[in-house]
Amino acid sequence: KPSFGLYGTRKTFLFSSDSSKPILPCSSTLSEVGAGLQREFGFPVVWFGRCVIQVQFTDSGISRVLGFSSLLLNCLLIVNLVTRVRLEMEGEQLTEQETALYDRQIRVWGADAQRRLSKSHIFVYGMKGTVAEFCKNIVLAGVGSVTLMDDRAVTNEALASNFLIPPEEKVYSGKTLAELCCDSLKEFNPMVHVSVEKAELVTLGQQFFEKFDVVVISSCPPATKILINEKCRKLSKRVAFYTVECRDSCGEIFVDLQNYKYMKEATSAPWGRLQRRTSKLYFAMRVIESFEEANGRNPGVFSVEDVPAVLQLKRKLCEAQSVSESFVPDTLLERLVIGSIEFPPVCAIIGGILGQEVIKAISGKGDPVKNFFYFDVVDGKGVIEDISSRAPEADSASSKSANIITQVVLE
């Protein structure tokens, strides 16, 4: 006669009479586990001690106490004689509340993905409109926690595209952008822990990022982004790294899932090796970044007076990279320089795509973007650019290219 015993703590058991589907949620208490066994197999179950279930057989009228083990592995072995049982030790099942709230999206990505989402921790730097959209999306999706960082005060620009900040001075005065966004985000989903960290981004040590599964950086200079990217890379744990920027009608997302190019390499690929069809935005954003770097500007701080200088820098860069000037259309650069403010519909689109990508990365479902995403209102296309695959001998070439850019900028 088969027999089995089980040992464990609360919320760790899953039973099944068929191979894959559990019959009891692992949030069950031991008494419920016992009742489940009784119901499923018709065996009376008695308690022994605090956490051991002992099964008695009453066939032929004899009540027998059969062996049980105090070791989980043994249990599994014995249990397997009775029926196939799946024990899921890590991760609890979704609660009833979660199942009800996330019903529609579980139908899209499944309960496993939802569970993984609820255990993920996300770090976000730079609370502009696009990032606000992104945060809304992942908080709604039900990630475990979101940590915000942005010590800047509210400006008109921030108010214009960020729906998380109420435009009343008495509400926002004295608070940082991150604090204000945190207050609003908390309301979106009480099951997600949203908090603020105050610090200088560049001074954060490597171990700071170890707490997170996903790091998203926005509105800071490229050098800072590269620095954070490298810190994340050095961790033993795999941290998904993203940067995102929106300027006017255009947006850019960079993705590093640590299986291809670092940001540093991806942003310095030699232009001549990239295909003509590479999104013009890729080049335009590099020109803009170089300009900001050379002139010590904060990201997005531009005026119409900068147009000639930016166009001139572009010509130099194109020349140095030995590509035609048409690689980077003037009109596109003009748009990016003049309209450095975010355009809310583009924030929604870029924030949506970024949310989707982060969900893909955490849940392991779907094909993540590799490694740039661009959207431009003018052509309406949301394009993926894989810069890594275009530059096969990238290492030496891209450092050369990086040198070229640096030289031009220095000049």
């Binding site: 009891l24 009833e96 999706a141 214009a160 729906f163 989903n189 748009r335 003049i338 094909d367 296309k381």
Partner: protein, 736 residues
């Protein structure tokens, strides 16, 4: 201002309010702010005469040292974000239909983008399952009007704009053509085909542009519909609601969805729904076979019969006896797997039956939606797969609870995906039937999705789609016809894209909605009643809400509040008459005119008499031609869940799209991608390499003659010399 190669470009660094007010409105009516930009050929004076709407510009030019000026349009050099201040947006009056998944995102994005007069209609109230994506709503709002709560939420971060909310059905008669006429653009975030068609017709009648949208999972779609310029919503076929042949449902299910339809439309409707409704369930029990027509209905609970006995009798009848009956017809099973009859005694012992369920845990009788068989049986996870025994226990327990706690509702219940007990019953019944036919069982979670036709929905897709809607709406407001795009959000990268724009369709010349092309109806005029015509064609196919049917000058039928008793009597008498014996007989060759006064939509139908119809493939007993709807496949060979919430039409299991949120979009990627297709992806110029000179001046010089369109190398841009610009040239360049 940049000066290079004698070229001068004028940039507007921002549309500051002062600058804004100095530019006449007409300037903003240039397509998509492809404004300004300069130089050569014409003097400023000439320019002023040619384009009399440019005085403020000439001021700028007059300070220039260049004596001659040419203008051409270059695409959007304006910062888009500055559009928030544009009168075209600030002054626009916008109607949003739907405040659900797309609606919440859309309202937020509209408000942020500078729209100041927004009207929003939604008849729904907030539910828990909305909260994962309809971010304007909170737990405390459950049960309240979506339109109103959405309005209040957006006003919190944009307190000074005007948002009017209507907690009402867009099909209500006060939302008529005049109501629609007050808007500059209508934006749809709807969840069903019927309402979309209704809004489409009103927009056509009111001549208001419509931006239509839909999402499901990671897929999304946005399209623009402007009368005369693009197709209308109904120009192209839409996936039609799924129907299943009756005998597949009643006798030969091969998929789980068939079992669900059976459990929901037949068994659930029979036991708890309107007793007078036709139902294809075999009601005869073994004792009454062969007896009179008035044979006893086994589904009636007998006096003095305990609920356990009654449950067992029903169970044994539908899962045991009926299967045995079906097995006796050997012909049916020659090419199919034989089903296995299941009797309750084999699955569940009498003893267990007695102790089945703890009703105390089942929920209170006061709140019908809190009653749950799972709770009383201690089953917790809706994603668990129940055994046959568990399903049987749920079946009995749910039945018991319906009779014990919700008896008053029996006889008037309709299946509702938000009614937990109904979902439990249908899941259990479908699973037992599936077990009998050797079909894999499904969890309650999955069964609920199929039975309730639940649309998969995530916040991200809705946000992206809402962004795309606003972009199209702005183009519409700026009358930038050339730039209208239909956009798709894709789940898998296609041609390097995740968001793919395509050119809009041209109007379909034979579209019966926007082109007045008559339809043809094949019908048996000697047997079909006017009622059949009204139900199956006018309402089900043409989606009319208040129809009026005319034959020449004689009125056969109409719906309205202002009819007198004699007319009502007359019309209801007509409904019961066959077509050929109506006061004004409808026979082969007759043309009927069907009109919906609210939608201001008229449609002519040529009648063609036909006597034979295939019961399986043409279950309506009539066939409508010229109607743009994807023909329903007679055999169910896709795995899409059926649509439907229990529109119990009697012969076939016809189902309406109910969809809780957004909507089923079918995207045929191959179709989009195919080159040479009418909806050509606007991609071709991208592929052509060698761009001509990038210098605007040079390009102009090279094309000094009357060239209207020059590729200037910035491959998305067009140069059009403004002094030749008028609506007509614009038209010619439009969509080929």
């Amino acid at each position: 201002r940049t000066g290079a190669n004698n070229s001068h470009r004028l940039f507007c660094s921002s549309l500051s309010p002062e600058f804004d007010s100095s530019i006449p409105l007409s300037l903003f009516h240039l397509p998509f702010l492809r404004l300004l930009f300069c130089l050569q050929t014409t003097s400023v004076n000439q320019l002023e005469q040619t384009c009399n709407f440019f005085p403020p510009l000439s001021l700028s030019f007059s300070t220039s040292s260049t004596p001659s000026v040419t203008l051409f349009r270059v695409s959007t050099p304006f910062p888009m974000a500055s559009l928030q201040q544009s009168p075209a947006i600030k002054g626009a009056k916008v109607l949003m239909v739907g405040a659900g998944g797309i609606g919440c995102e859309l309202l937020k994005t509209l408000a942020l983008s500078g729209f100041e007069d927004i009207h929003i209609i939604d008849m729904d109230t907030i539910e828990v399952s909305n909260l994962n994506r309809q971010f304007l709503f909170r737990q405390k709002h459950v049960g309240q009007s979506k339109a109103k709560v959405a309005r209040d939420a957006v006003l919190r971060f944009r307190p000074h704009i005007s948002i009017s909310s209507y907690h009402a059905n867009v099909k209500d008669s006060n939302f008529n053509v005049d109501f629609f006429k007050q808007f500059n653009v209508v934006l749809n975030g709807l969840d069903n085909l019927d309402a979309r068609r209704h809004v489409n017709r009103l927009c056509l009648a009111a001549e208001v542009p419509l931006v239509e949208s839909g999402t499901t999972g990671f897929l999304g779609q946005v399209s623009v519909h402007v009368k005369g310029r693009t197709d209308c919503y109904e120009c192209n076929p839409k996936p039609s609601p799924k129907t299943y042949p009756v005998c597949t449902i009643t006798s030969t299910p091969s998929k789980f969805v068939h079992c669900i339809v059976w459990a929901k439309e037949l068994l659930f409707a029979k036991l708890f729904g309107d007793k007078n409704q036709d139902n294809d369930l075999n009601v005869r029990s073994s004792d009454s076979t062969g007896s009179s027509e008035q044979a006893e209905d086994v589904f009636e609970r007998k006096a003095n019969e305990s609920i356990e006995q009654y449950g067992r009798r029903i169970y044994d009848h539908v899962f045991g006896y009926n299967i045995e009956q079906a097995l006796s017809n050997e012909e049916t099973w020659k090419s199919r797997n034989k089903p296995r009859p299941i009797y309750s005694r084999d699955v569940i012992s009498a003893e267990l039956m007695q102790q089945n369920g703890n009703s105390d845990k089942a929920g209170s009788a006061g709140d019908p939606l809190s009653v749950s068989a799972m709770a009383s049986l201690g089953l917790k996870n809706p994603q668990d797969l129940w055994s046959l025994k568990d399903n049987s226990r749920v079946f009995f327990e749910a039945l018991k609870l319906f009779f014990g706690k919700r008896e008053k509702e029996i006889g008037s219940l309709c299946f509702d995906k938000d009614d937990p007990l109904a979902v439990e019953f249908v899941t259990a019944a479908a699973n037992i039937r599936a077990a009998s036919f050797g079909i894999p069982l499904h969890s309650l979670f999955e069964a609920k999705g199929i039975a309730g036709n639940i649309v998969h929905a995530v916040a991200t897709t809705n946000a992206i789609v809402a962004g795309l809607i606003v972009i199209e709406a702005i183009k519409v407001l700026q009358k930038d016809f050339d730039s209208y795009r239909m956009s798709y959000c894709l789940e898998h990268v296609t041609q390097k894209m995740l968001i793919m724009p395509v050119q809009p369709f041209e109007p379909n010349k034979s579209c019966c909605v926007c082109s007045e092309t008559p339809l043809t109806l094949e019908i048996d005029t000697n047997h079909s009643k006017l009622r059949d015509f009204v139900e199956k064609i006018v309402k089900a196919k043409l989606s009319m809400t208040s129809p009026l049917i005319m034959h020449g000058s004689s009125l056969l039928y109409e719906v309205g509040d202002d009819l007198d008793d004699a007319m009502i009597a007359n019309y209801s008498a007509n409904l019961e008459k066959v077509l050929s014996s109506l006061p004004s007989p409808v026979t082969s060759g007759t043309m009927l005119t069907v009109e919906d006064l609210q939608q201001e939509f008229t449609c002519n139908i040529n009648i063609k008499h036909r006597e034979e119809f295939d019961e399986e493939n043409e279950p309506d007993g009539m066939v409508l031609h010229g109607w743009t709807q994807v023909p329903t496949k007679p055999k169910d060979d896709d795995d899409k869940p059926p649509t439907g919430n229990g529109d119990s039409s009697k012969t076939s299991q016809t189902e309406t799209v109910e969809a809780e949120a957004e909507v089923v979009v079918k995207i045929n990627i191959e179709e989009i991608g195919a080159s040479g297709n009418k909806r050509k992806a606007p991609d071709s110029r991208d592929i052509s390499t060698d761009p001509p000179s990038n210098d605007v001046n040079e390009a102009t010089a090279a094309n000094h003659k009357k060239v209207h369109k020059i590729d200037d190398g910035d491959d998305e841009e067009e140069l059009v010399m403004l002094d030749h610009w008028d609506i007509d040239t614009n038209k010619k360049q439009k969509l080929r």
